[in-house]
Amino acid sequence: MHNAYQALPTTRREFLTWGTKGIGLLAFSQFAPSFLVQSTLAATPTPEKDRSILVLVQLAGGNDGLNTVIPYEDPEYYRLRPTIGIKKEDAIRLTDTLGLHPSLSALHSLMNEGRAGIVQNVGYPNPNHSHFRSGEIWETASNSDQNLPSGWIGRFLDNACGGAPGTAGTGGDPVAVHVSNELPQSFQSRYPQSTFGLRGGGNRNNRENLAFLEKLVKHDDHEANANASFLRATMMDALVTEQRVQKVLGGYRAESTYPGNGFAQSLRNVAALIASGMSTRVYFVSLGGFDTHSNQANNHANLLRTLSEGLAAFQKDLIAKKLDSQVLTMTFSEFGRRPNENESRGTDHGTAAPLFVMGSQVKSPLHGTPPSLKLQKNRDLEFSTDFRQVYATVLDKWFACPTDQVLGKTYEPLSFL
């Protein structure tokens, strides 16, 4: 008889191989660490380096959707926005009724080439107007009345959909990389995942010091607590990954000219890591400042230009490096803004908004339906596409990962992939 105890795999990779042998794994599931069982339930293939990659671009603060995709034939739009509305003649024409903000010309070119698209009017039921709560809902993919401790990317990784063998402390490629000072809530996972944050200066430690620090970090025989263990695991990972990453970034030669701003430089660094062949599946980049409560016209125009030009440089670089078929980029924001402008020539917190998807696999430029603007004063837009449909599309069609494992239930996927 098969000896279940001895044969139990100890790594995700082993466990997945087991799964393909058709052994009745679930019979032993009470002996197995739960993350391994989860892996099998998800039954995704073992990792390869040329698999699909997702780049998440957070527009922090709440992007004004109605001044991003402009319904310029709708008189309601100009009624709601007498001073900050984008004039028809200024908008970049998309269809007979819709235009893009004039700052988005670079993205518009990508749309014309069939490399970018827009999902319109994305939101969720019973919207929350708090930055933090609504951001949390987006990043954890929860219902409005539900609190989830992990992020949707975190759960994707927990389900071994990330594929990479980056167990904490092994120095393998990180499964997810964020270019921001704080770990995005989307990355919060139930089981330790080797994520990497791209910030921080050079390292002047000599080898001897590093070796000593490594020794101290590996020491775990004294009075431990959860935060101490967490710090040790993170530091071990960081020590190993850091040197590799800095080498990659220092030696990178981009094939396009990235604007000098921090956002574009972050995307350049993401391109460098992708081009280096790391098996990382998810990257997270953030662009802040979208909370435009007053005098928003100039600020918003600048933000959208930064977004558009940064994304275009990134895509051009990927195309030149023949990596574009592997990378999907997607924007998101915690909410859109109130349809009617406020007295400060700005907009207050709102609900649904369009988001961008970019990549050579993106199909046709417009998805979903635009919001109705027949609204009473100070009312919000009614969403028509649930943001989890967008996630489901990415999980299902891009990552081939069972969506209900990550999202809790099945959502109807969209047609942008």
Binding site: F132, E182, G197, G200, R204, N209, L213, L216, H222, D291
Partner: protein, 497 residues
């Protein structure tokens, strides 16, 4: 470690027989930046109750307005006039760029003066407490580009930091930085802006879920007419909505202050600041409602007095329980100011040491990431910020090449030295002194006991001793001792308090 205290017992004073040096170190690491031996000794002398009376006094010291901040504020109106009168677009842009640069420098001056002020033992505890309050009553230089208003806002917090919370909230609602930050500036009776009212309920007094959207819309009307003019806060009564409002089920011609009082009459108000206090000082995981309830009931009956709240929490059995010892991740400002105190050095008056690393570690002074302040806890820690934390320690042991500093920075260095606060790095002389007077065993014990908040094993200690004493070349012993200290301060354990 399990919290084996009943919610009732949790907030009782620590029994006298549990008050010892370990407890004093714990108190100082949590309410101050570090546990310096003279401070520990002083606490042991006076006892916990008297110690807290001193650490949390009736009034916090105020931070004088830094020179560049005053200069900018004084020059401001004339300068804006100049920008308005510019002859061409190009000229205007040049002037605007200049103005932005002056604002940047003034904020830098403010940031460094704050760090210097906060690093002094006599201010450390109240400045951490003010920092805690500023993480509730958030404003950010991201939006408020006049550093004088940022400074004044924090002085408003210092002035009310140890009084009644409702009075502080009312003062904050009139703080020019806050009026601008949460868009009261343009809010009028015809078009009330909801931003302030929302954050008042969500982030200052009650927390999410304890108010309705209708409460916010109505409350926003009560705060109409709040304005900032050149001489500070001004109430524009013609812009104020005097009609009745219905907030939390009560109807009346409420003013902004009335709405704040109404908010504090809600049940959720009594637990809100205690819960935030728990997150800032005790643990990443929020205190459970069962533990918060008795504290909240008491705090309401104490008139929401912030000083009494500090005295009560920081003398409680819960605060000193093993479940809350040595397991809280230091925020970047605490890591930096704690290093300054632990290493007995001074805050350097130029940004390279302090502000640049603080930004990389994720906590740039006066620039919280958003309206709710910093999330903190484990979110401080990732490979990038850990690298920055390590870099900081390295920097504090590396002599400064003063020739590379600009003229302003050199002036600041001279000024700092004149005040006897001119030691910015750990010098070789100090390390040599240590080697002369102490055995490797003594040095190891000193480092471990002084720097680390957790009890380490014998083998950990032995590892350090081995590294320290394995260098036999006399000429390299100083470098080896320096490496040992650096590495220990970079260790995961030193990130905790």
């Amino acid at each position: 470690m399990k919290l084996d205290l009943s919610p009732q017992a949790a907030w009782q004073p620590l029994p006298a027989n549990q008050w010892n040096e370990d407890a004093a170190r714990h108190l100082l690491r949590r309410v101050s930046w570090a546990a310096q031996p003279p401070e520990v000794a002083r606490l042991m002398n006076e006892g916990l109750k008297a110690g807290l009376e001193r650490l949390f006094p009736a009034k916090a010291n105020l931070l004088p307005e830094p020179r560049l901040v005053s200069n900018l504020a004084e020059a401001g109106p004339a300068y804006y006039q100049k920008i308005r009168n510019a002859e061409s677009r190009e000229q205007r842009q040049v002037l605007q760029r200049e103005q932005r640069e002056r604002q940047r420098q003034a904020l830098q001056d403010l940031s460094i003066k704050w760090l210097q002020f906060a690093s002094r033992p006599e201010n450390a505890v109240t400045e951490k407490w003010t920092h805690f309050l500023s993480d509730i009553y958030v404003v950010s230089h991201e939006k408020i580009n006049n550093p004088a208003e940022i400074h004044a806002h924090h002085d408003t917090l210092r002035q009310g930091a140890l009084g009644a919370a409702p009075a502080l909230t009312k003062a904050v609602s009139r703080s020019p930085a806050m009026v601008r930050y949460l868009d009261l500036q343009n809010s009028n009776k015809n078009a009330p802006n909801e931003n302030f009212a929302r954050e008042l309920f969500e982030l200052f007094v009650l927390g999410e879920g304890n108010y309705t959207e209708a409460d916010i819309k109505e409350a926003a009307r009560a705060f109409t007419g709040y304005r900032v003019r050149a001489d500070g806060f001004h109430f524009a009564s013609s812009q104020h909505d005097t009609r009745p409002k219905t907030v939390f089920g009560q109807t009346g011609k409420f003013t902004g202050d009335d709405v704040i009082d109404l908010a504090y009459s809600q049940p959720a108000a009594a637990a809100f600041v205690p819960k935030e206090l728990g997150k800032f000082y005790l643990s990443d995981s929020p205190l459970s409602p069962a533990y918060l309830a008795p504290l909240a009931d008491w705090w309401r009956s104490a008139g929401y007095d912030l000083r009494q709240l500090a005295h009560r929490v920081f003398s409680s059995r819960l605060f000193f329980h093993p479940a809350f010892r040595g397991n809280y991740i230091k925020r970047p400002t605490q890591l930096y100011l704690g290093l300054v105190q632990d290493l007995n050095i001074n805050v350097a008056p130029y940004p390279r040491h302090s502000l640049n690393t603080l930004r990389l570690m994720g906590e740039e002074p006066f620039r919280p990431p958003n309206v709710s302040g910093w999330d903190g806890g484990r979110l401080w820690i990732n490979s990038g910020t850990l690298n920055a934390r390590r870099q900081l320690v390295q920097t504090l042991f590396t002599p400064v090449n003063e020739e590379n500093l600009n003229a302003d920075e050199q002036v600041e260095i001279v000024a700092a030295r004149a005040q006897g606060a001119g030691v910015f790095t750990v010098t070789d002389e100090r390390i040599e002194g240590m080697l002369k007077n102490m055995t490797p065993e003594q040095i190891t014990d000193r480092f471990v006991d002084y720097f680390l908040p957790v009890k380490v094993s014998k083998t950990y200690r032995a590892e350090i001793l081995a590294f320290l004493s394995s260098e036999t070349d006399e000429a390299k012993r100083v470098a080896r001792l320096r490496s040992t200290a650096i590495t220990l301060l970079q260790s995961p354990e030193y990130q905790l308090c």
